[in-house]
Amino acid sequence: MRSGTRAVLFLLSVSPSWAIAATDAPTNGAWQALRPQLYGTRDISESGDQLMSVDAPASTPDPSATPVAVHFGRELVGRVHEVRVIIDNNPSPLVATMDLRPGLAVDEIDLRVRIDRFTSVRAIAETDSGRLEMRSAWVNASGGCSTPPSAAQGGVLGQIRFHPSSDDRALQISIRHPNNSGFQVDPRTGDMIPPHFISHIRLSVGGQTLFEAETGISLSENPSLRIVAREPLPAPLTVEALDVPTQSRFAATWQGQAAGTH
């Protein structure tokens, strides 16, 4: 049931109607349309930076890879089971739906996203008790940019890199992938370039899932996910990423710093 709903939402989110909706001045239009689909009429609390916050640059240095950090305060750490990130004015507003499993007390989740233009970036967290918390940040992407996002910068498709912090509490996972939107026309043929993106990321230890995310084309080229936990992350930790449309599965395992594999 739940995954069915998500599939529908995803199709909705990449349909061109959103591109039209996104031509207005900065609004929360996409959110107003998504809210009843995702959360119905449930109450959503929006106050208190101590509980939760969203950090994003007010003026992004690189609109094609803008860092967005979702922080959880003491009261929420270990109690959040789902987080959605939404960019109101992107052609595909729903960036990711992330499931956090018991056993991983997450302080912070960082993503890198594409920002089309001036927009609100929001994160909605659902706790184990069914409470909803939403925080947002405004990001301006205009000015100072002479070029569009680059073509994929080479490397091996699906290659995965780990960058841990020295205390193993934080791990950045980067996946070599163009994460194409599919909104562009191939100038040689006039055809739409089909979307090619990472649709799913799963982190597991010993076969048990700790974290998984459904992702889309608002993640940057070479998608990057960084998780900061309260305790050192367990290892060996396996990352799997699913490619659409090929259904190829990319995987790599982080051995932890003690193993000295990176």
Binding site: D55, P57, P61, D62, A65, P67, A69, D110, R112, S142, G143, G144, C145, S146, T147, P148, S150, A151, Q153, G155, Q159, R161, H163, P164, S165, S166, A170, Q172, S174, R176, Q184, V185, P187, R188, N222, S224, R226
Partner: protein, 311 residues
């Protein structure tokens, strides 16, 4: 040709009463003959979203005995036309080549002013692809710099290309130009032009003088290109931005120092496990005197980070 000059003089004579020279059918871009038959217009030190942003790059032309090569055309069709007018004021010879040093708008959106049956557009082998990726973005963000109504067709790409790592010689009549297409550096399609007759190197944006260097290709690639450029001997260099110099090595030194610091500091941030946003916040090398630092440097850090995290 004469009427253009007359038009400019007329406007100057009547001055404010008549309005600016732009009131004439076309105005002529001021250029300086920095070497025999080599004319340069030095762009303004403005941001890419500031009024006048279409006139920020160094553009110009070289005159042979047979024809003229234009090197970069400015950031709008208006500037392109004004450059064309400047060419006509200095020679009766036709333009036979328009050479673009790379894909960025400030060097290329004036191309449409030069289209014609006998004009060849020349660029790096990857310039065509870079333009294919960029046309929609340029139309969305720089439509005001094209002729209304703005169309993709006005963003003119190369007819002739130089293979990456290779060279092409063009002759303007007793004036051979040597074009070199670089591996990914400032951008992924950098091209330099060497005018043997005067010993002048037209570096494009491989060299920024005064204006903060902007990274859009590869930081390690750019430093490698700088190493190569530092070792060659030329009499004069026309940078992509900033003042013309008679000492290429000295002109490259500040840019090299900045990019080396950027490389070392971003590598260190990645090694410490810092995320992108912390690197952007923390990486701040000494930067006395660079123009537009506050907007350009953070973007350089973000770009460098995304390159170096894969090392």
């Amino acid at each position: 040709m004469k009427w253009r000059a007359a038009c400019g003089a007329f406007a100057a004579l009547l001055g404010f009463a008549l309005g600016p020279a732009a009131r004439c059918a076309t105005f002529s871009l001021p250029v300086e003959e920095v070497a025999r038959g080599l004319f340069v217009h030095v762009g303004q030190p403005l941001a890419l979203d500031a009024p006048g942003h279409d006139d920020i790059a160094n553009i110009g032309f070289i005159v042979g005995t047979r024809c003229v090569a234009v090197i970069d055309t400015g950031g709008s069709v208006r500037i392109g036309r004004a450059l064309r007018s400047a060419v006509a004021e200095h020679t009766r010879l036709p333009v036979c080549y328009v050479i673009n040093t790379h894909v960025h708008v400030d060097h290329l959106l004036g191309n449409a002013a030069f289209t014609g049956a006998h004009v060849q557009f020349v660029g790096h082998a990857l310039l065509g692809d870079a333009l294919s990726r960029s046309r929609e973005f340029f139309l969305n963000n720089y439509a005001g710099d094209l002729e209304a109504p703005a169309t993709a067709a006005q963003i003119v790409g190369p007819d002739r290309s130089v293979p990456q790592g290779g060279e092409l010689e063009l002759d303007l009549g007793a004036r051979p130009l040597r074009l070199h297409a670089w591996p990914k550096a400032h951008s992924d399609c950098d091209l330099t032009v060497y005018d043997a007759a005067t010993g002048t190197l037209w570096s494009g944006d491989l060299l920024f003088v005064q204006r903060t260097p902007a990274l859009d290709g590869s930081l390690t690639g750019w430093l490698a290109a700088i190493d190569t450029l530092t070792a060659i001997s030329v009499k004069r260099v026309i940078p992509g931005h900033g003042a013309v110099s008679n000492d290429l090595r000295a002109a490259l030194a500040p840019e090299r120092q900045y990019l080396q610091s950027l490389l070392a500091d971003v590598r260190a941030a990645i090694a410490q496990g810092k995320p992108l946003q912390d690197a952007v916040r923390d990486v701040s090398p000494a930067h006395s005197g660079w123009l537009l630092w506050d907007t350009t440097h953070p973007r350089n850090v973000a770009r460098a980070y995304q390159e170096l995290e894969w090392e």
